[in-house]
């Protein structure tokens, strides 16, 4: 059990002109027993961060603490961390039981006790039938569970999972999500989960740390990331399909402020709070964001303050439980999630409605959220 603190951590690979700044000024605290996901596109520095926490990668500058104790320069085995690898990293010449018990063997636990613990973990992960087999004979899902089991068996302070589901098919993934959630609930251990898949992160984590370009963009719960993204990157990365973005300039109209989208007739109405915030910045250009989920075809939800957009349908993708409309107005293109029975076809002109309080405004330069 441990609380993990990263203070001003930097990682630079290489030197001179070929140096790569992989992790920049990272500050992050993971509470005892918390499940935190590190989420970001490939190359964003999340795996480097995780490897520094485990101790497989040296820290260029900054401090890593477990429960206040400085572990920055300790070897992995001195930190009491366990890790499940993306490629499973099972010992191919060991049986599954030997794989599970290897950490105990290293610690000098007697064989009888090892055996007992192996069976206990195998039971929990439903791999008892394959204990005598060797890794190459197992399916991907079984191998991944063995690798989880090997991490669990020595009851580590921090439990680290690196992209553990990226090689599993959709079915297994669903099962593993459930298993992991259950494990965390039962064991109440500090878990750090690295992934590029927002679905996994949203499903599992208490809090999500979004990284991009070597920097931590935002840390927060699901609702915070979804409704109040810190910047355009987070808004874009979280949510499926991604947020619609428009470059726009403010326009005064009948005493209230609206956002006129460039090269398009689209115009967004803003909540009074947003109007005040935009006025306060005095800016000329902004990025307007609106999630496809927040656009609806239904005009009758008796809200007089609803905004309205008129656009032509470019594509109507039918996905079973819903449809995604890709719409065009002038040069602007955006998407809306609509009920699957929507019959409108290509080039039909339709009206879409939205709640002005759902409109997000970002600074055009820094891409940070204004309101």
């Amino acid at each position: 059990m441990a609380r993990v603190t990263l203070a001003d951590v930097n990682k630079i690979y290489g030197t001179g002109t070929r140096a790569v700044h992989a992790v920049q000024d990272l500050d992050l605290t993971i509470n005892d027993g918390e499940f935190v996901a590190l989420l970001g596109p490939s190359g964003c520095g999340k795996t480097s961060t995780l490897r520094m926490i485990v101790g497989l990668e040296s820290v260029t500058s900054g401090r890593i603490r477990f429960d206040g104790q400085d572990v920055t320069h300790l070897e992995p085995q001195q930190r009491n961390v366990a890790m499940a690898f993306e490629t499973y990293a099972l010992y191919p010449n060991f049986t599954i039981e030997e794989n599970l018990t290897f950490p105990l063997e290293v610690q000098g636990v007697p064989p009888k006790e090892r055996r007992r613990r192996a069976h206990q973990v195998a039971e929990m992960l439903r791999i008892t039938p394959v204990l005598k087999e060797k890794p190459p004979g197992l399916s991907g899902g079984q191998q991944q569970r063995v690798s989880l089991g090997r991490a669990l068996i020595r009851e580590p302070a921090v439990f680290i999972l690196d992209e553990v589901m990226s090689h599993l098919d959709a079915h297994l993934k669903f099962q593993m999500l459930f298993d992991l959630k259950r494990l965390h609930r039962d064991l109440k251990r500090t878990m750090i989960y690295v992934t590029h898949d927002q679905v996994e992160a949203l499903a599992l984590a208490d809090r999500i740390a979004v990284m991009s370009n070597a920097k931590l963009q935002q840390v927060g719960g699901r609702a915070a990331l979804y409704n109040r993204p810190a910047n355009a990157f987070v808004a874009d990365f979280i949510g499926e399909p991604p947020t619609n973005f428009f470059t726009a300039r403010p326009l005064q109209e009948n005493g209230s402020l609206t956002m006129q989208v460039d090269n398009s007739t689209l115009r967004f109405q803003l909540s009074s709070e947003a109007q005040a915030a935009v006025n306060a910045t005095g800016g000329e250009r902004f990025i307007v964001g609106l999630r496809p989920q927040n656009l609806t075809l239904d005009p009758n939800r008796g809200d007089p303050n609803r905004g309205r957009l008129k656009a032509a349908i470019a594509i109507n993708e039918y996905l079973g439980e819903r449809s995604i409309l890709t719409l065009e107005s002038g040069k602007a293109r955006f998407r809306a999630l609509v009920p699957p029975e929507t019959a409108a076809g290509q080039r039909d002109i339709i009206d879409l409605f939205y709640d002005p309080t759902r409109v997000m405004i970002f600074d055009a330069e820094t891409e940070d959220l204004i309101v």
């Binding site: 070897e75 085995q77 490629t87 990293a89 010449n93 290897f102 190459p136």
Partner: protein
């Protein structure tokens, strides 16, 4: 599609070169598909088979035939040789000279071939573990491989110079270092075999080294990281993870050195000619002596067949072991 049009399309597909190729390259491109008739594959496979028949299979059968006859070089081609049944084999198997040479072979296998594999494995793992710069690795590998590229005659002559008892470099160095107090007589009976083994270890250790090194390079790094996180020390990792994973690679190195051991003649010939008093002879060298020098083709053939049988048994055992290892790891 008309035949002409089809022809044109085919020719376009075959000849169609991306514009990025230079003109001379496009010009060299063949205008016809390579496989024009069903005879081509037969020809391509058949020629090597014929060559193999001529230089491997026919001589083996020929040798087996003569091992059962009292063939002498004088009437090898006249056909005036009679069947002697297993007489040649009896001669060989009961000869003291052959027994001694078998003992020499055992010493050579154990202290020559095995030592080479052990030393090569050790060096390969040390280089991989402690030399992290690619340039340094490449340089040291090239250095270590150099002896392997020298012809045996050069290696033999070189070591005869180095080991010359009275003023050879090795004796001088050992004397200067105070390790020995008088010259070692490197080419006396009982020592000359060891001189050959030393030269051979110097010559061939790089082969198992290269094999094991390339095996080590291809082991998955994630497994080693897992071992680090699990807290395994270097010795534990070596004993429980690295060596077991390199089992079949090391077995291959053994097979190669052992098969070579059975045809090992060159250094014996150059350095000692089997002497003094046949004290450094290996079975193959006797076969060569009896057949080529003393013209007893029949007996030499029997020697060759016996050596072949011994090496076949040993290599089969190795292959069986390898198959078991690979099966255990789910690879075969």
């Amino acid at each position: 599609m008309t035949p002409e049009r089809k022809e044109a399309v085919v020719s376009e597909i075959v000849r169609g070169t991306p514009s990025t190729y230079p003109a001379w390259f496009s010009a060299r491109k063949r205008s016809k598909p390579l496989i024009v008739s069903r005879r081509v594959p037969i020809l391509l496979v058949g020629l090597p088979v014929l060559v193999l028949l001529a230089i491997v299979i026919y001589p083996t059968i020929w040798m087996f035939y003569h091992s059962l006859r009292d063939t002498n070089i004088n009437h090898l081609f006249s056909g005036e040789h009679a069947s002697v049944g297993l007489e040649n084999y009896r001669t060989v198997l009961s000869s003291e000279r052959f027994h001694d040479s078998l003992w020499h072979l055992a010493l050579y296998l154990f202290f020559g071939a095995c030592l080479q594999v052990l030393l090569g494995t050790l060096l390969a793992l040390i280089i991989y573990e402690y030399l992290k710069s690619n340039l340094a690795r490449a340089l040291i590998l090239i250095l270590l491989v150099l002896p392997m590229m020298l012809p045996p005659s050069i290696v033999g002559t070189l070591w005869r110079f180095l080991l010359t008892p009275s003023n050879g470099a090795i004796n001088q160095a050992l004397l200067d270092l105070g390790i020995i107090s008088s010259h070692i007589e490197w080419f006396n009976a009982g020592v000359s075999l060891w001189s050959i083994i030393i030269a051979d270890v110097w010559n061939w250790t790089a082969l198992p080294l290269l094999i094991v090194y390339s095996g080590r390079v291809s082991l998955p790094p994630a497994v080693y990281e897992a071992a680090r996180v699990d807290g395994a020390g270097q010795w534990k990792v070596l004993r429980r993870i690295t060596l077991p994973m390199l089992k079949e690679v090391i077995a291959i190195a053994f097979i190669l050195r052992f098969t070579d051991a059975f045809k090992f003649v060159d250094l014996v010939y150059v350095m000692t000619s089997g002497g003094p008093a046949q004290s450094s002879e290996l079975p193959t060298y006797i076969a060569f002596q009896r057949g080529i020098r003393e013209f007893a083709i029949g007996e030499a053939a029997a020697y060759a067949i016996i050596i072949f049988a011994i090496s076949a048994i040993i290599v089969t055992l190795f292959l069986k072991y390898m198959k078991r290892v690979m099966k255990a790891q789910g690879l075969a």
